[in-house]
């Protein structure tokens, strides 16, 4: 490049432009603004804990830890115990997972390993994601009018065959724990599928090639190489969906029957903390609100523990390849 002879020294070529104070102010101001917006998350989270805790204080002082173990929920007499709801929350979400985990992980294996053409795999993946997008209130509506009448004969048969066990001892009559568990399966299975699918897709191709290279069968490779490599992310995803299942409100509320009486039977109506809140919060006042807030606090602690455990598992148990 020919140099312009009229420019003699570097000072003439490069003029240092000083940034005007307004520009600097804008820059730092923008940083502080984004910092403030990021802190909003912390404020909201702490705000939720504080609001629920403060409102629950009265009930905590009055009922203490017996709130967790007694099952007498009587707003008339102002005695409250949340055992029915806590039991229902744990049983419904855990049993839903027992069904949803094999379904979800199996589906994920089916659409990540090279079993069927790519287009079919992607279509199944898309459909599972659309299932996850359906609003829970629509699933609840479907559960009331379609699912529950459809499975009633099966539940009757279960009662007929296994009625001697406490878990099927009541005659199924409409809403109950069993249809609620099934609708929870529909809701958490897509989550497990898509997280497991991502986890399986991230297993390095070399591991697969190595397994097939030493002559294993497809499922030999899946069970001894691919699944172990992806297990931490899958377990993390399962924990996340457990948190979802415990906090799921609408579909469960619409189909579980919202009974305040304790029953071991899965065919009888039950309750969960979330559906207790959805049902009673609107008409509650005084100590009942506080008791409901106490129940909400328990739900928050449960989901918090499960979510933190999920994050810990993903971080700590991941295999290093």
């Amino acid at each position: 490049m020919p140099t312009d002879p009229s420019l003699a020294s570097p000072e003439d070529v490069f003029t240092l432009r000083r940034r005007p104070p307004s520009e600097k102010l804008l820059d730092t101001g923008f940083r502080q603004l984004t910092l403030a917006l990021a802190s909003a998350v912390a404020f909201v989270l702490i705000g939720i804990f504080l609001t629920v805790f403060v409102e629950a204080r009265e009930a905590i002082a009055q009922f203490g830890l017996t709130f967790l173990t007694t099952s007498d929920w009587d707003p008339g007499n102002e005695t409250f115990g949340a055992w029915v709801a806590i039991y229902g929350t744990l049983v419904s979400s855990l049993l839903a997972l027992v069904i949803a985990v094999p379904l979800g992980v199996g589906t994920a294996i089916f659409i990540t390993e090279d079993i069927i053409p790519v287009q079919v795999r992607e279509t199944i993946g898309l459909m599972v994601e659309l299932l996850a997008a359906l609003p829970s209130v629509v699933l609840g509506l479907w559960a009331i009018f379609v699912l529950e009448p459809a499975i009633r004969p099966v539940l009757n048969l279960l009662h007929h065959l296994l009625g001697w066990t406490p878990f099927f001892s009541t005659v199924p009559q409409g809403p109950g724990m069993a249809p609620a568990i099934l609708i929870l399966v529909v809701m958490v299975m897509p989550i497990i599928t898509s997280i497991s699918r991502d986890a399986l897709n991230q297993v390095p191709i070399e591991l697969r090639q190595g397994a097939y290279g030493v002559g294993t069968t497809r499922w030999g490779a899946i069970f001894s190489v691919i699944l172990p490599a992806a297990v931490s992310a899958i377990v993390g995803g399962v924990m996340l969906s457990l948190g979802r299942a415990m906090g799921e409100t609408m579909a469960v509320t619409m189909i579980i029957g919202n009974s305040l009486n304790f029953s071991l039977s899965l065919l009888a109506p039950g309750n969960t903390i979330a559906s207790l809140l959805a049902n009673q919060f609107g008409e509650a006042d005084g100590i009942q609100i506080s008791a409901l807030m106490y129940a909400a606090l328990i739900l928050m602690i449960l989901t918090f523990v499960v979510n933190v455990a999920a994050q810990w598992i993903v971080k700590r148990l991941s295999l290093r390849y």
Partner: protein
């Protein structure tokens, strides 16, 4: 495969390897097990997609049959009566979701910019990311009672308790984690060279973020926002004690407002057939909107790729 050892190796024809073609022996135990397990996985995959078809089918048949212009524009009838539509609920869902979007998107995108552009690995950013994941796991009903305690019970907005604004705020609590996460992750995908290039020609950090990195990450961020909006539009639990419900057209942002999700919940548990039919019709409209938004987000991604 048991290969009978050749009696004498003919070195003239150097054939050290078994040259017989590979074959698949279906009678082998491992191959049968393989087939069985593949069959089970295929069965599980078909069970997994079955609910989508069943739910969509029922919603289309039961809800679509009631679809008409009156459904979209008229008010719901009094309990037990028939006629009318869900116009106020459709409008209310749009209003409440819009309020939530207007709150959650600026906060979420701003917070995501901080996490990715200003403090990628600082302790505060790590803490915010952790808090964000926890917030994403908070049950939606808890977000509802939080806003109930914060806004509705305290009557901060002009002495009004239940209001459209309260409902919008409750939904924004649910949207916020998704928006922050997608912004943070979307900005991480922007190549570092783009930022260096901008700094190199003398752009300030603010200009770099606004003109270079945010536009470069437009696709993942907008996809995330569309998905978050779609999810919020279908949420019910946060609205039942904040926005409540109203059988009338909305009366400003500071009074209770109808929404499709709460209408479905209320009308589904009513003992009247026409109300149940309206719940199906509202489900139809809601599902069409939500699945439409989901397909839109996919379309955005695909457009950006080509």
């Amino acid at each position: 495969m048991a290969n009978p050892a050749p009696k004498s190796i003919s070195y003239a024809n150097t054939d050290l390897f078994d040259r017989r073609p590979l074959f698949f022996d279906g009678t082998l135990k491992r191959n049968q097990l393989n087939l069985l397990l593949t069959g089970i996985a295929a069965l599980f995959a078909s069970i997994a997609v079955l609910p989508l078809f069943l739910v969509l089918g029922h919603v289309l048949v039961k809800g679509g049959s009631l679809f008409s212009w009156a459904l979209l524009t008229e008010l719901p009838p009094a309990p037990g009566l028939s006629g009318g539509g869900i116009g106020n609920a459709i409008f209310g869902t749009i209003v409440v979701t819009l309020i939530a979007t207007l709150i959650a998107v600026p906060i979420g995108v701003g917070g995501g910019v901080f996490l990715c552009e200003y403090s990628r690995n600082g302790w505060f950013a790590q803490f915010v990311r952790f808090g964000n994941d926890v917030l994403a796991g908070v049950p939606s009903i808890i977000a509802g009672i939080f806003i109930y305690g914060l806004v509705v019970a305290t009557k901060v907005f002009f002495d009004q308790s239940y209001s459209a604004l309260a409902g919008g705020i409750a939904l924004s609590v649910l949207m916020l984690p998704t928006v922050i996460k997608t912004t943070d992750e979307g900005l991480r995908l922007v190549p570092q060279e783009l930022r260096w290039g901008a700094y190199g020609v003398g752009a300030s950090k603010f200009v770099t973020v606004m003109r270079i990195t945010l536009p470069a990450a437009f696709t993942p961020i907008s996809t995330g926002i569309v998905l978050a909006v779609a999810r919020a539009a279908g949420e019910t639990a946060p609205l039942i004690f904040t926005a409540l419900f109203s059988p009338y057209w909305p009366d400003g942002l500071f009074s209770p407002i109808a929404s499709m999700s709460v209408l479905i919940y209320n009308f589904a548990i009513m003992p009247y057939e026409y109300q149940n039919a309206l719940a199906w019709a509202a489900s139809f409209v809601l599902v069409v909107m939500i699945l439409g938004a989901n397909l839109l987000s996919r379309w955005i991604t695909r457009m950006a790729k080509t």
